[in-house]
Symmetry: C2
Subunit: 366 residues, 2 copies
C-alpha cells in the first residue's frame, strides 16, 4: 500500500489497523511484519539500518523487500533512529496508529557488557523518545519486546510471569529490558489510558518456512542457532559450547527455544487485546520445553544433514544452567500457543542459511 | 574566577581542581559549591533554571549569586539542560574537569508518580547524556547523588551499604535513582578507567548557617522541613502529618535527617578519593539517628519560637515507618562524619526561612 493510501486510511478515521513496528528490519520485527500483513493489518516500519542490509534500491531493508514479495503487500518504511526524537515525531504526524510494537533495541548480551552506555542509550533513552512521541500523538497502545533474561536466576521452574524479576540479571542488556518494564508499569499507573503488553521472549530461533527471511547477525553470531547454522554452511569452523559441567542431563545449558514465527504470531494475537482497555499485561513467549545445547546441535545436524563440529570450552560468566517458561497464561488469555517444534526451528533455519549463506548481503546470495 | 582564568588553568595542565557540578543552582548543588569553593576548588556549575530563581542580572541563579557573596569567590555558571547534549558537550570543550558531581535531577517523589516519563527522561536520559559527554572528554571521575529510597523496604536497621537495593522501591523517582546506580556499575565494570562514587543521601535538611541560601521549593513543598518552615513563617496554614499509627514511639514516621552542609562536606571529602584509582564506591550520607515527624516539629518550634500547627491525616501510599542508616563506612573511608544535630538543622533552616520568607524571589525578601 502506498503512502497516500495509508494516509487516506489514517485520515478517514479508520485508525484501527495501522501498526507501527520499530526495529522493523530486524529478525523479530520483520517476522512480525510478515504476520501482521498476512492478518490484514497495515504496517509502518521504522529502523535505523544499524544491523540491516539495504535492498537494490537502497531505500528498503532487504528483509522487508522480501516480506513484501512473500506477502504481495506493501510495508511503509522509514529510515529513522529512535534516538532522533524529531524524526520519530514526524512519523507520528504522517500516520494515525492503532498501536505500536516496539522491537528496536541493541540485543547482544556480551557486547552490552563492553559498551553499556550505548545499550542504555538505545534501549532506555530510545524507548523514552518513542513513548513521548506516542503520548503526544495520543497513541497509547504499546507492545514491548522484553526478554526472559529479566527473571535473573530461576527461583523455580518453569518460570511463570509471577516469578521475581530484576535480581541477579547477568548483563546490561537484560537490565535495560527490566528497566523499560518498570518504566512501562509506572507510565500505565500514572495514566490508565495506556494499554501496554509486555512480551517476554525466551529464545527465538528458526525463521519463516520459505527460508527467504531469517536471522542475519552482522559479525560473529551471538546466539546459538545462527552460530550452528554458520558452522553447518561452512562460514565458521566450529561451535564453541560454553560449559559441559552444568547440572543438566548432558551437562550443557538448557534453554526454551521458540520458533520466531510463533513469536510473531503472538504479537498478532496480543494486539487484538487492544480492542478493549485492560491496563498492563505481561506474557511469556516460549514453548515450555527446554533443550540443551547438544540437543539443538543434534537436531540441527539432522535437519541439515551436515555435521556441526563443536568444541567444549569453559563456562561463560552469567550463563545459567537451565531455564524454560510456563507459557500457559498466553494460551489462556491470547489463545496463542506454539505450533512449531525444535525440528521445525532447525529445518526452517537451515533452509534460510543454506539458501542465503551470507544472509541478506546481495552480492553473494541466491 | 573569570572564564579566561579558568581556561588558562585548564590549559596549563593543572586539571586537578576544576569541578563540574550539575544542578548547581539547586539545594544540595549550591551547598556543595559553597563548600567546594571554601576548600579551594574551582567550580563550573550547570543548571537548567527549572527550579531556580535568577539574580538581578538574570544570568546567574540567585542561589549562586549568594554563594559568590558568601565565599568571595566566583563560580562559573552555564544555563544548560543536561537533556541538551550539544550544549553539555560544549561545556566540556570549554573546560578540563578534575571530576563531576552530578546533582541535576527531578526529585519530587509524589510528582514522579504523576509524570514518570519526565522523571525518567531527566534522571536517566540526562545522566546518559552527561556520562557520554564526560567519556568523550575523558573525564572519568564521577560522583552521583543517589538516595536512601533505593533500599526499598528495610530488611534490617540501621541500613548499611550492603543492604539489598531495588526491591519494593515506592516511586518512579526512587527507581530512576536505582537505575542510574546500575548503569554506573555496568559502566565502571566495562572500563576501569572510571572512578565512581555513589552517595546515598538520607533526608537532607537545614541550610548554610548564614541563612543566605537554603531549600526553595517552587509550589507546595514536597519535603517535611520546608513545609514546617512555611507553616512557621505563615506562608502555609498547617502541616499535614501523614499517619500517626506507625509502629514507632509516637506513631509518626521516623527518618534520618542530615544537615545539608554535612552532605556538602561529604562531597568534598569524597572527591579527595579521586587522587588514586579505586573503581566504584558507595556511601550512605546520614547521621545514623532517626527522628519522628513530631520530634522534628517540636525541634523546629523550639528553634523558631513559633507554633507549628499540624493535622494528622491518613498515611501516604509507599511511606515507610522507620529508616535510618549506618554511616560508619563514610567515616572510615572518607573521614567524614556529621557535625550538626537536629537543633542545628532547625535553627539554620529557620534563619533562612525567616530572612527569606519567599525563598530566593527578589521582590519580597530581605
Amino acid at each position: 500500500m502506498a503512502l497516500n493510501s495509508l494516509k487516506k486510511m489514517a485520515q478517514s478515521g479508520d485508525h484501527g489497523r495501522v501498526v507501527l513496528v520499530t526495529g522493523g528490519a530486524g529478525y523479530v520485527g520483520s517476522h512480525c511484519i510478515l504476520e501482521l500483513l498476512h492478518a490484514g493489518f497495515e504496517v509502518v516500519a521504522v529502523d535505523n539500518f544499524a544491523n540491516a542490509i539495504p535492498d537494490e534500491s537502497g531505500k528498503l531493508p532487504e528483509s522487508l523487500n522480501r516480506v513484501e514479495l512473500l506477502t504481495g503487500k506493501k510495508c511503509n518504511f522509514y529510515q529513522v533512529d529512535i534516538l532522533d526524537q524529531a524524526q520519530l515525531k514526524s512519523v507520528f504526524q504522517e500516520h494515525s496508529f492503532f498501536c505500536i510494537i516496539h522491537c528496536a533495541a541493541l540485543k547482544a548480551v556480551g557486547e552490552s557488557t563492553s559498551i553499556p552506555l550505548a545499550y542504555y542509550r538505545t534501549n532506555l533513552a530510545g524507548t523514552l523518545n518513542l513513548l513521548e512521541a506516542a503520548k503526544e500523538a495520543n497513541v497509547k497502545r504499546f507492545v514491548f519486546s522484553s526478554s526472559s533474561t529479566i527473571y535473573g536466576t530461576p527461583q523455580y521452574l518453569p518460570m511463570d510471569e509471577k516469578h521475581p524479576v530484576g535480581v541477579g540479571i547477568a548483563s546490561p542488556y537484560g537490565r535495560s529490558k527490566h528497566m523499560v518494564e518498570e518504566i512501562l508499569q509506572d507510565l500505565q499507573k500514572s495514566d490508565n489510558n495506556w494499554d501496554i503488553i509486555i512480551l517476554r521472549y525466551f529464545n527465538p530461533v528458526g525463521c519463516h518456512e520459505s527460508g527467504r527471511i531469517g536471522e542475519d547477525p552482522q559479525g560473529l553470531p551471538n546466539n546459538l542457532m545462527p552460530f550452528i547454522a554458520q558452522v553447518a554452511v561452512g562460514r565458521l569452523a566450529e561451535l564453541k559450547v560454553f560449559g559441559s559441567d552444568y547440572d543438566t542431563p548432558d551437562g550443557t545449558g538448557i534453554r526454551d527455544y521458540v520458533h520466531v514465527v510463533d513469536v510473531a504470531k503472538a504479537h498478532v494475537a496480543a494486539i487484538k487485546l487492544f480492542e478493549k482497555p485492560f491496563g498492563l499485561k505481561t506474557y511469556n513467549l516460549g514453548t515450555g520445553c527446554g533443550y540443551s545445547v547438544l540437543q539443538v546441535v543434534s537436531a540441527f545436524e539432522k535437519a541439515s544433514d551436515k555435521l556441526v563440529k563443536y568444541k567444549i570450552v569453559s563456562r561463560r560468566v552469567g550463563d545459567l544452567a537451565t531455564y524454560y517458561c510456563d507459557p500457559s497464561l498466553a494460551e489462556k488469555e491470547l489463545g496463542w500457543k506454539c505450533q512449531k517444534n525444535l525440528a521445525d526451528m532447525c529445518e526452517d533455519f537451515w533452509l534460510w542459511q543454506s539458501q542465503n549463506p551470507n544472509g541478506f548481503s546481495p552480492e553473494t546470495n541466491t
